[in-house]
């Protein structure tokens, strides 16, 4: 039996992992999104309104939030994916701020005052989403589809020349990633049982990206390790009090210096195999 404190940290890790997984999918096609917190917000608000005001069962509501977020992702992806690299990052960053401002002024969901009334999910329910999603992405990484996505990431022109539909691949990855962020949002809302626009600000998007960069972007286990590090390391460093966050920053830099590819990658997994 784990303490409620440990279960709280594990729940936060599970949610952060799913959110990071959404960035992992976008990175797999060579794109960088700094606006995935917006999709998380969308999933959180849709799922919350469905459970609180329409009595929809919580897991169905989270799934519905994911679908809405996914569709929004595709809609945003159409124009956004005409951009690349830093330009796409800036566009998605703008979309994230726009979404946050939208919920800030939306009276129906409480605006700045936030939205509450949800029933709290259990730790098990959060990992009941996280683990199957991890397995699904791990399986996807062994598929031809993932090879095609990586081909687009490595050289989009060459990928097009061999007949790959780069637009469809990027759009699909963006949509599925948005849906995953929506799942994370729905779980977040039903774990903390209170949401407000500031919970889905740029800082959240940055954390998602950081989790992937820190954990490793070449395999789905990377976001898991990265999310765990981001949630657990600041807690483990509490003994140094006021210097905690400075030490955490130093630790992140040290990890990235020692393992620029992230904590875990395919080579390490191979090396660890008996």
């Amino acid at each position: 039996m784990i303490s409620s404190y440990a279960s709280g940290l594990l729940a936060d890790t599970g949610i952060a992992f799913i959110a990071a997984l959404s960035v992992h999918l976008v990175l797999a096609v060579g794109q960088l999104s700094l606006g995935n917190a917006a999709f998380m917000a969308c999933g959180a608000y849709v799922a919350s309104v469905l459970t609180v005001e329409h009595g929809v069962p919580v897991h169905a509501a989270i799934a519905a939030g994911a679908v809405v977020s996914g569709l929004l992702g595709v809609l945003v992806g159409f124009p956004a994916l005409r951009l690349r690299g830093i330009y796409l990052a800036m566009a998605t960053l703008g979309f994230g701020e726009m979404t946050r401002s939208f919920f800030l002024t939306l009276d129906a969901t409480g605006g700045a005052a936030g939205y509450s009334g949800m029933q709290r999910l259990s730790l098990g329910a959060i990992w009941a989403w996280a683990l199957p999603l991890l397995v699904l992405v791990l399986l996807a990484e062994r598929s031809r589809l993932w090879l095609a996505m990586n081909a687009v990431r490595d050289d989009e022109t060459a990928a097009r020349l061999v007949g790959l539909d780069a637009v469809a691949l990027k759009l699909g990855a963006f949509g599925v990633a948005a849906a995953l962020a929506g799942v994370a949002g729905g779980l977040f809302a039903h774990w903390h049982i209170f949401i407000e626009p500031s919970a889905f600000a740029l800082e959240r998007s940055t954390e998602m990206v950081l989790a992937v960069v820190l954990g490793g972007s070449t395999v789905a286990l990377g976001p898991l390790f990265g999310a765990a590090a981001l949630v657990l390391a600041p807690e483990a460093l509490r003994f140094i009090a006021d210097w905690r966050l400075a030490a955490f920053g130093g630790l992140l830099i040290a990890i990235l210096l020692v393992r620029p590819q992230g904590i875990i990658d395919r080579r390490l997994i191979q090396a660890l195999k008996p």
């Binding site: 936060d12 903390h192 049982i193 407000e196």
Partner: protein
């Protein structure tokens, strides 16, 4: 640091300790309290002064013999003003540290997430600063706030502002990234201005800025062009100073009114010639023996603490923290609490019941009670910050039903 015995004996918590010492019925036991403060992040200054205030009370009570002979131990954790961390810290304090009650969290956002966890854990949590309307009321019966709702305070401050500065027209500017500021600037104030017959010159186009903005010249220029008699500034002090400095730079010297987060020595330094009207339940410079001694005791400690400005003064939230610890130790002595580990759940319930019907507790600025909403019923002051100091202009009580000061 040498502190005179007279000063030491001045804090309410210490007076309780002396009474408890005489009884010494808890000798060999420990009163474990928890505190959640933002020692890092956007409100780090408040969190760090809270920590100093808590350590001061802990030290004083233990030096005077403890709480009824029991040693006081306060586990202080930093939530970085992040709601998820605050919620997890409530769990940690409840299950791992097994505290009797929690002081904090500080921000309303953290309270919104942490209070439900406290309710679930059946553990009292009392915020030292949250003043967003309804936050404790939504999380009864274990959530309390040693603060007064912003809308209650503004009902007293705004008519005074209008009458004393002939402020028949104002403009609003608020921090669009901060939930409290948005609530005050875009929801509470427009309605309240109408109720008080004050014209809102930028209605429909309220001026905003974002937390962290360092240039608000465009917004202030636009506000100045409307030639208002006053300015409503909804932001915490760390952001409000940017607006005040810009107003000063542009020669836009008009009286400013805002919520409790404006109360800070930084506001006084930003634009000394601009009068800033706000409300407080404590302010450095407040008169009265008890409160003056509190200020005199804490201020040197704050100024000697690394990382805090050398001119810092105790904040209202430090006073609230000391009062919260005082109320908890008062409960230990008066509520039939045993402090035995096997009675922890029962002791927590006794403390909660004691707070819910609190009577006879004297805070730094007068008696404190708790309404059924969980918010404090206590004295407050409308204050004006100008020329480097806060001055009291009006005194009131957040009367709730039959509960009054």
């Amino acid at each position: 640091m040498t502190v005179s015995r007279r000063v030491l004996l001045a804090t309410p918590a210490l007076l309780l300790a002396r009474r408890g010492h005489a009884q010494a019925r808890f000798a060999g036991l420990e009163v474990k309290l928890g505190a959640i403060v933002p020692s890092s992040g956007p409100f780090a200054e408040w969190g760090r002064t809270n920590t100093v205030a808590l350590r001061m009370v802990e030290e004083q009570i233990n030096a005077a013999g403890g709480v009824g002979g029991a040693r006081l131990s306060i586990a202080i954790y930093d939530d970085a003003a992040r709601p998820a961390q605050a919620a997890n810290l409530v769990r940690k304090l409840a299950d791992d540290d097994k505290v009797l009650a929690i002081a904090g969290p500080l921000t309303s956002s953290a309270c919104e997430v942490a209070f439900p966890v406290a309710n679930q854990a059946r553990l009292v949590a009392c915020s030292q600063a949250s003043s967003k309307p309804g936050t404790a009321a939504a999380n009864r019966p274990w959530a309390f706030r040693n603060t007064i709702d912003e809308s209650v305070l503004m009902k007293a401050a705004l008519p005074w502002f209008k009458a004393n500065y002939n402020a028949d027209s104002v403009v609003i500017i608020y921090d669009a990234k901060d939930a409290n500021s948005v609530a005050l600037g875009s929801r509470i104030m427009p309605d309240m201005l109408k109720e008080n017959g004050i014209r809102l010159l930028n209605e429909g186009a309220l001026a905003t800025f974002n937390t962290g903005d360092i240039d608000v010249s465009a917004q202030v220029t636009a506000l100045k062009a409307l030639n208002p008699a006053g300015v409503v500034l909804a932001a915490d002090y760390s952001q409000a100073v940017t607006v005040l400095r810009e107003m000063r730079r542009q020669g836009f010297v008009k009286p400013v009114i805002g919520g409790t987060p404006l109360i800070s020595s930084a506001i006084l330094r930003a634009a000394p010639e601009i009068p800033v009207v706000s409300s407080a339940t404590y302010y450095a410079g407040q008169q009265g023996d008890k409160v003056r001694r509190f200020t005199e005791t804490l201020q040197p400690r704050l100024r000697a603490t690394a990382g805090l400005p050398p001119t810092i003064e105790p904040s209202m939230y430090d006073a609230h923290m000391v009062e919260i610890v005082g109320m908890y130790t008062d409960a230990v002595l008066r509520a039939g609490i045993t402090l035995k580990p096997e009675d922890l759940a029962a002791d927590r319930e006794k403390l909660r019941a004691h707070l819910a019907t609190l009577s006879g507790y004297e805070g730094l600025s007068g008696p404190i009670h708790f309404a059924e909403t969980g918010d404090a019923v206590k004295n407050f002051f409308v204050v004006v910050g100008q020329n480097g100091q806060w001055g009291e202009k009006l005194r009131g009580c957040s009367t709730h039903g039959s509960l009054t000061c």
